[in-house]
């Protein structure tokens, strides 16, 4: 009997080591793959970051992809304030401000409207509200190119062509589909009983929104703000079509910068300019990314 037990134990121990080895192997494969995928995304960024600190001559000598032999910050300064794009030598700063001037109001307005829409479409349903919501959802699927011509017509009539205000109008309206979808789906998961209780307590439409819905909204508002901010900041098509020169947002100006190189391509300045253009969404994501993932799953899975 005693022998049996020890045999069993040995068998168990052997099985355990086999399992542990297999476990280790699986882990190794999984982490290996993850590292490879991460590298695919990170290496180009790394190249651009390194090039922004390298000397132009050195880039020319050693090629675009190579470790830096020198370290200098001049390219950043040039890209920001002195580099010449299409005749004006002010760098990207004006376009950077244009982008801010466009993105911040458009983000705020579209988020507020989306929150209101979501509140109404989830908690104050009326006849046809579901149909209306479906129509608004279409906006999520219609690509921006399709609306280029109508927008040209509208902006022309409003006298808003070649201005950041025109872009604000476009981004607010194009963005409402997304913000409404996000907020509505999030608010649907807030129990209706809360609204009923508040109605009995004598609170009206606005008081319920301010005192009950808004305080519960931070996850979804963070998601919407990040989504809108990155989307609007990174948007290129409308910017390049409806504005020119000093009115252009940074995404459109970056292209102008690559096109305006008269003789030598200034890879160092271009790298710095691209990074300046990419920094705000990156920072936003760094600060809010945690909430972004959390809020997105909360909204989507119900």
């Amino acid at each position: 009997m005693a022998d049996d037990v020890s045999l069993d134990q040995m068998h168990d121990r052997h099985a355990a080591t086999v399992a542990a080895r297999r476990h280790f192997l699986t882990r190794f494969v999984i982490y290996g793959l993850l590292v490879i995928f991460a590298a695919i995304y990170l290496v180009p960024l790394l190249v651009v970051v390194l090039n922004s600190f390298r000397d132009q001559q050195e880039i020319a000598r050693n090629g675009l992809i190579s470790l830096p032999r020198s370290f200098r910050l001049e390219a950043w300064g040039q890209a920001w304030s002195t580099y010449c794009i299409g005749g004006t030598c002010e760098g990207m700063q004006r376009n950077f401000y244009n982008s801010l001037k466009m993105t911040i109001p458009a983000t705020i307005i579209s988020t507020v409207v989306g929150a209101m829409n979501g509140y109404i479409l989830s908690k104050w349903r009326f006849k046809g509200s579901e149909a209306l919501f479906t129509c608004m959802l279409l906006g999520v699927f219609i690509p921006g190119q399709i609306s280029l011509m109508p927008w040209a017509f509208i902006l022309g009539n409003l006298g808003l062509s070649n201005s950041t205000y025109g872009l604000i109008v476009i981004h607010v309206i194009q963005g409402i589909s997304f913000t409404t979808l996000f907020c509505r789906n999030y608010y649907v998961s807030i129990p209706d009983d809360l609204i009923k209780a508040a109605r009995i307590d004598g609170a009206g439409f606005w008081r319920i929104f301010r005192k009950i819905i808004l305080p519960l909204s931070s996850p979804i508002l963070i998601v919407t703000v990040i989504w809108q901010f990155t989307g609007i900041w990174n948007e290129y098509l409308f910017g390049v079509v409806f504005t020119s020169g000093q009115q252009q947002p940074i995404t459109a100006a970056l292209v102008a910068l690559t096109a305006s190189g008269t003789n030598v391509r200034a890879y160092d300045v271009m790298s710095a300019a691209v990074l300046i253009g990419a920094l705000p969404p990156l920072l936003i994501y760094l600060f809010g990314g945690k909430y972004f993932v959390r809020g997105l799953t909360q909204g989507a899975i119900k």
């Binding site: 009983d193 009923k196 508040a198 109605r199 009995i200 004598g202 609170a203 305080p215």
Partner: protein, 368 residues
């Protein structure tokens, strides 16, 4: 003084008729329970009283005032929800004062009201906490506090205990009863739990498929259920229904039903029968009115009738023992004292208290 009167109230959702002409009334200080299975329309009815659902036709009056198209906040009601519906971002205190803030009650008056209600429900230590930091029972108290603080005309409860575990539910039930005793407000209480309805209510409205089946005091509902639905719904284990044939023996009506091995028994009917009583009957007998027959008992209760049955299953619960018995082709549940429990497989002679039996017409399902 506050009363509630409901006259031929109807509710349609499109072509679906949810409530089919409800008549109800609550006297001042009464505790009305609306009880029924899920989907019977009881919660819709409550929401209509609260003003959260529109009225298709009929009328709702609170204190004689027609409130059909009056907003919930102007009906002077307070409601406790099944989910408690406490505002999650506010403290307990803010939850309780939210209604007063909405109505712009002056601050000192608010403080006084909170103090009074918190002392009443013993929730003073919880006032600064958020609902997420409270246990189920505490949330329940806070929800009641929010309702109590307003001193409304009418209290509405929508299945307030169904989210609590079994033991707490019984405790809170007692608390609600005490509370009603002390406050004395007219109350409408929705539940699917017939025990809650029986213990709390001064009158019970049993609802089924959008209409009120019976609206009476608990004892009447239990002892003289208006139809087979009420009889089957109220009481656990449920009332037994036995098909029987109306006959006569020595000038007195009897119910004849099959027992064991193809034999029949005829049980004398105690109640007076109307002339149009059908020949086929359903005999409704509650489990506690089935005894183990003994001559002593028969001497004390002359209405006891004898009948044989086979014991199929015995389920002891501690305080009492349920036995499933086979009588003719039917299974019957009896409730026995644990000391005198029959054994499985045994053929027993039962004593059925015919004075407590209910007779139903199988076609109309109504009480005879």
């Amino acid at each position: 003084m506050s009363t509630l009167t409901i006259r031929s109230l109807r509710k349609n959702y499109g072509s679906v008729e949810v409530l089919k002409g409800i008549d109800l009334e609550a006297q001042d200080g009464e505790f009305i329970a609306l009880v029924g299975p899920s989907g019977c329309g009881k919660s819709t009815l409550l929401a209509m009283i609260a003003g959260l659902e529109t009225v298709t036709s009929g009328e709702i009056r609170i204190d004689g005032r027609l409130v059909n198209s009056i907003a919930p906040k102007d009906r002077d009601i307070a409601m406790v929800f099944q989910s408690y519906a406490l505002y999650p971002t506010m403290t307990v205190r803010e939850n309780i004062t939210f209604g007063m803030e909405s109505r712009r009650v002056p601050k000192p008056q608010q403080d006084e009201a909170v103090k009074r209600v918190a002392a009443f429900l013993q929730i003073e230590p919880l006032l600064r906490r958020k609902p997420g930091q409270l246990s189920g029972g505490q949330r329940q108290r806070v929800a009641m506090g929010r309702a109590l603080v307003r001193d409304p005309k009418l209290f509405l409860f929508d299945e307030p205990l169904s989210n609590l575990d079994a033991k707490l539910r019984v405790d809170m039930r007692t608390e609600i009863k005490k509370l009603h005793h002390r406050v004395g407000k007219t109350t409408v209480y929705v539940t699917h739990d017939q025990v809650e309805a029986m213990t709390l209510a001064s009158r019970i409205a049993v609802m089924h498929q959008g209409s009120v089946q019976q609206f009476e005091e608990p004892a009447t509902i239990y002892n003289r259920p208006a139809n087979m639905f009420v009889a089957g719904f109220m009481g656990s284990p449920a009332m037994n229904f036995l098909p029987a044939e109306l006959s006569e023996e020595g000038g007195r009506p009897t119910a004849v039903l099959p027992t064991v091995d193809g034999k029949t028994a005829s049980l004398p009917i105690v109640q007076a029968l109307p002339s149009d009583t059908p020949r086929q009957l359903l005999l409704g007998i509650r489990p506690e009115h089935i005894y183990r027959f003994d001559p002593d008992l028969a001497r004390r209760k002359p209405s006891i009738a004898q009948i044989d049955a086979v014991v199929e299953l015995v389920e002891p619960t501690g305080a009492e023992t349920m036995a499933v018995l086979r009588l003719g082709g039917k299974e019957v549940t009896g409730r026995f004292d644990p000391d005198g429990t029959p054994r499985m497989g045994e053929t027993v002679t039962l004593g059925i208290d015919m004075a407590r039996a209910c007779l139903f017409d199988p076609t109309t399902q109504r009480l005879i």
